[in-house]
């Protein structure tokens, strides 16, 4: 294979950066480069230390291992630190979350200020401010989070940067944990900012470091886009020698930084001129490479799709794009001319394919490869089979067509954890038969059986706004309108719609499920958690006080482990005219610490198998198949039970009892409260 090597303007970082070579963080760069020259055999030398995940060698921040098996997100975190970034901000969202977590884990506090922001737009603004103050800064978000930051993102290239700004965006094709699958490559084109797409962890590391330099060179934020499989797959990374934290300061430049129309008109022109230069520069960048093999088939691809193409068509020529905006028109044309048939393999939208059509290059793509979901080596193979490039499989059936035992295996859906404090409010809402506008978080699982009491889920914070609409439209068949959302989601985007609800006098109830953490993404602190990402203490925002300040007259705080109180609170709130708020406060059972009370068991003599408890959907409650009675009895899996007492409270037979003797349910509830005191974060 021949790699086109071009020393391009992009490869030359600003002089400022080069003068600030890392001294304090000096790694054994000689050793690194020697080991990396051994190529694939470097790790076979027993002297090369390896690791899975980033491991550090003490306080000087040097990397202990030459070769680490890092996830894409870990590689981006390492790259950010090594690029001398002084700040990292973002909002948690799968598959982007781990970047900030790993920065917090591996960097010393003096090197990087890292913190979760209230939402993605706030993060983008914090990032732009830090940049103008001279810091290199990364802002991390999942694909739908970038929608929230769009307002600032669209104008950010007008203002430009001082320290480099990298917007790390992780798309989620296949919707492993998302409400939609949008292709954010279009956002880079829309905003007119350079877009880098790594296809493995080494590239994730390299591109991250290069992105900071590019951002400063071109005076614009740069988007670094991954997909789930790049972010959450581990492959080898060899780091290069790190830079120290960028030095800089805020310099006043109102014509550039204040987007009054008069200034913005000038800056828009500058933006367009830069775009023209970027297009020229794109022809020479080292991020793109042409791999000429057989001339019969050529494939234009990027990101994870590149890996699939290399596996499925090892002999095909490949134009691998690392910079997917702007695209190298001339190089693509010359590549197209060298091959007989040209294909585009890309996940989701025909972004590259459309660009090729505009360039006047004939290529085939979406007619063979799906426009939705994740690609896989198998789908790429099937696509090339239907295109006639590969022969169809020998049998009538493909491998997937054979009858496998998988078809007889039942599905296993995600569930609320055993002891989840969200179960009780949903049980009550199900009973009230309310029209429930839901939101995004663990509690979206309240829409699934058996809780089955959520009617909508659109986007972050949408529950309250949609409830206003539902209540104002009024056609709910007399059923009460309730919005349900979590604490982190409320702070993220729930406050403006609550203002709307109060101001418009909507007749509705808002249930805020406050478990003190952003639980869905693995337990990240938020402004109502008195904790920082590094584990320090932080001032806590008071959610009930916010509601009262907005003007909600009825704000009730209740413990969701107390079923009766929760039921009364929600029933009373629903009965009230105007906006009422119920805040259910109970720390998440899983994070930041696992909370475990006395485990419960089922007295099989008293249990009559009514299964009311199973309506909680608690994974600890299972059918006991061992008893020779019909109907069967319920059993509690002691390994899973958290001792939340909720099932014991709702059992009509009083058949669910604590294993520790003589503890009444109310005593148990209070014992959980006191035992989890230190972890309750001051509630």
């Amino acid at each position: 294979m021949k790699i086109e090597v071009n020393t391009s303007p992009g490869a030359v970082a600003k002089e400022g950066a080069s003068t600030k070579k890392a001294v304090s963080k000096e790694m054994n760069s000689k050793r690194i480069s020697e080991s990396s020259k051994d190529g694939k055999d470097r790790a076979s030398d027993s002297k090369v230390a390896v690791s899975v995940g980033p491991t550090l060698n003490g306080s000087d921040g040097s990397i202990k291992h030459e070769v680490s098996l890092l996830s894409g997100n870990e590689a981006i975190a390492l790259g950010t630190w090594h690029a001398g970034a002084g700040m990292a901000v973002g909002y948690p969202g799968t598959p982007s979350t781990e970047v900030l977590e790993y920065i917090a884990k591996i960097t010393p506090e003096s090197d990087v200020y890292v913190e979760w922001s209230t939402n993605e737009k706030v993060a983008m603004d914090v990032a732009m401010g830090a940049s103008l103050a001279g810091e290199r800064v990364i802002m991390t978000t999942k694909h739908v989070g970038l929608n929230v930051a769009m307002d600032s993102l669209m104008t950010s290239p007008f203002i430009g940067v001082n320290g480099g700004v990298v917007v790390f965006n992780a798309d989620d094709p296949g919707m492993h944990s998302s409400q939609n699958e949008q292709d954010n490559r279009y956002i880079a084109r829309f905003a007119g900012v350079p877009l880098l797409e790594p296809s493995d962890s080494q590239e994730a590391y390299d591109f991250t470091r290069a992105a900071f330099a590019l951002s400063e060179q071109w005076d614009t934020p740069v988007i670094l886009r991954t997909t789930t499989r790049v972010s959450h797959s581990r492959s080898k990374v060899v780091p290069t020698s790190p830079e120290s934290r960028r030095e800089g300061e805020f310099r006043r430049d109102r014509r550039k930084y204040v987007m009054l129309p008069a200034n913005a008109r000038v800056r828009h022109l500058a933006h367009l001129e830069r775009l023209a230069k970027l297009e020229e520069w794109a022809e020479e960048v080292p991020f793109n490479r042409e791999e000429m093999r057989s001339s019969s088939v050529g494939v234009v691809t990027s990101g994870i799709s590149y890996q699939y193409v290399r596996d499925v068509l090892p002999d095909a020529s490949v134009f691998k794009l690392g910079l997917t905006f702007p695209l190298p028109k001339e190089r693509l044309k010359s590549f197209a001319a060298k091959v007989d048939r040209l294909f585009v393999v890309e996940e989701l939208e025909p972004y590259l394919e459309e660009a090729l059509i505009l360039f006047g290059i004939a290529a085939q793509g979406k007619e063979f490869f799906p426009r939705y979901g994740e690609l896989s080596p198998h789908l790429v193979r099937v696509g090339f089979q239907s295109a006639g490039v590969l022969e169809a499989p020998r049998g009538q059936d493909g491998p997937s067509g054979t009858s496998s035992p998988a078809s007889s295996v039942g599905p296993r859906f995600p569930l609320l954890c055993a002891g989840c404090s969200h179960a009780t409010p949903f049980l009550v809402l199900r009973e009230l038969d309310a029209v429930v506008a839901g939101d995004i978080g663990c509690y979206t699982l309240g829409a699934t059986e058996p809780l089955a009491s959520m009617d909508t889920c659109l986007s972050m914070g949408s529950s309250i706004g949609m409830a206003v609409g539902l209540a104002k439209a009024g056609n709910t068949g007399g059923r009460p309108v309730v919005a349900v959302l979590g604490d982190s989601t409320f702070l993220h985007a729930g406050i403006p719609p609550l203002i709307e609800a109060v101001h418009r006098e909507a007749n509705m109830t808002v249930v805020i499920l406050d478990n003190g953490i952003t639980a869905m993404t693995g337990g990240q602190p938020h402004p109502a958690t008195s904790m920082t990402i590094r584990g320090g203490t932080a001032p806590r925002v008071d959610i009930p006080a916010i509601c009262k300040a907005i003007g909600v007259s009825s704000v009730t705080v209740v413990d969701p482990y107390d079923v009766g109180a929760t039921r009364r609170a929600i029933e009373n709130a629903v009965a009230k005219q105007g906006v009422s708020v119920v805040v259910t406060v109970r720390p998440c059972v899983e994070s930041p610490v696992k909370s475990r009370g006395p485990v419960y068991y089922v007295d099989t003599d008293r249990c009559d198998g009514c299964q009311l408890c199973m309506n909680l959907g608690c994974p600890a409650l299972i059918w006991d198949m061992s008893l020779d009675v019909m109907p069967k009895r319920v059993r509690i899996d002691a390994a899973l039970c958290s001792g939340c007492t909720v099932c014991a409270q709702i059992c009509p037979q009083g058949a669910i009892l604590p294993t520790s003797k003589r503890v009444s349910v109310s005593e148990a509830v209070s014992s959980i409260s006191s035992s989890s005191g230190p972890t309750e974060r001051g509630r």
Partner: protein, 357 residues
């Protein structure tokens, strides 16, 4: 000039190195005997596997151990992980590939030499990835999801409880084999699977032990090493005892059950009893709800308490069974009705032609 951009001007061997061929898809079974190469006797090993189970079973740790072992052997490794919503009690699956050079981390169907099932049904779920002749090491630990217990009348469980293991599946009672430590820390039981895998994968035992020591929590290293050794020796014996298996580990539906149980020192591991059939669903009839309309005053208690939402109030505020098919016959409504207006009849013959008891 940053070092990061150096990498582009000075192409690293990462980018120039080409695999000798695309033989990953057609890789032969790994052979420990393949140590003729001078430079790195293990450098030509390659293989693919799927690790599957339920969140919290230590799947990521196990895949880290395997990755570490492969890296120590000088091999390229890639593996996929699962984060986010899929961890909430759902399936966790990781694809892991190693070899001289690995491109895609995701596998195609029938491409995996091995499957490691940390949970019985999850191990079976991904059998489509198993190559013909491959081996699936599947723990007999069962985690029955609540959704599989949605049938509210007879207690039918929608789960492959006792079905005969398909070809290529080695059922392993990991808890019994692992040793006592597994009772306190369930994740240790799964190291038995690594022990069994190590027999097939072709890496030296020392590398495995080093990898375990480097990747499991420091306090559990010893217990994990015991579980590893136990799993390794158990599987070696199992291979010997399954007759006529020349590298092909096929568990016959009935024949092998005996030999499986007769393995001495298998820690009393219970075999998957292939002869048992799936649990019979309760063929009881659908109970009948009878409501005396004249006695009902519409207090709504029965509507509120019914676990299955069988009842509702009609437009005259009288309780009616609006979803009679969902009644499980628990009798809660009848017992709580202050007006004794509800009667539940359990012995109604149904279309199934059976009655209760």
């Amino acid at each position: 000039m940053t070092k990061a951009t150096d990498r582009f001007t000075d192409p690293s061997p990462d980018q120039t190195a080409q695999p000798p061929d695309n033989s990953l898809a057609s890789s032969a079974e790994p052979a420990p005997a393949r140590s003729s190469k001078e430079r790195n006797p293990l450098g030509e090993l390659k293989g693919n596997m799927v690790l599957a189970g339920v969140g919290g079973q230590g799947i990521i740790t196990a895949s880290n151990t395997i990755s570490f072992a492969c890296m120590q052997a000088g091999l390229d490794v890639k593996k996929s992980e699962v984060h986010g919503m899929s961890q909430r009690g759902g399936t966790v699956v990781s694809h892991l590939r190693f070899g001289p050079e690995v491109h895609s981390v995701m596998l195609e169907p029938e491409q995996a030499e091995w499957i490691l099932g940390f949970e019985w049904e999850e191990g079976l779920r991904f059998l489509e990835y198993l190559k013909p002749g491959g081996v699936a090491f599947v723990s007999t630990e069962r985690r029955i999801p609540p959704t599989a217990q949605a049938d509210r009348r007879g207690g039918r469980v929608d789960y492959a409880l006792e079905s005969a293991p398909p070809d290529g599946v080695v059922p392993i009672d990991t808890y019994a084999i692992a040793g006592d430590a597994a009772l306190e820390r369930p994740a240790i039981a799964q190291t038995v699977l690594l022990g069994a895998l190590s027999v097939e994968m072709g890496l030296p035992v020392e590398i495995w032990k080093e990898a375990i020591a480097a990747t499991v929590p420091p306090k559990t290293v010893e217990a994990n090493l015991v579980a590893f050794e136990n799993g390794r020796s158990w599987y070696k014996r199992w291979k010997q005892d399954t007759a006529g298996s020349k590298g092909q580990t096929v568990l016959q539906a009935n024949g092998s059950k005996k030999s499986y149980e007769s393995i001495p020192g298998s820690g009393g591991g219970k075999a998957v009893d292939a002869s048992r059939t799936t649990i019979e669903a309760w063929r009881g009839g659908i109970p009948k709800v009878e409501i005396v309309r004249d006695w009902c005053k519409g207090c709504n208690i029965c509507v509120a308490v019914c676990p299955e939402r069988v009842l509702s109030l009609d437009r005259f505020d009288i309780a009616v069974a609006s979803n009679p098919d969902r009644c499980t016959g628990c009798g809660l409504c009848a017992r709580l009705c202050p007006d004794m207006a509800i009667e539940i009849w359990l012995d109604v013959p149904t279309h199934l032609g059976a009655s209760t008891e």
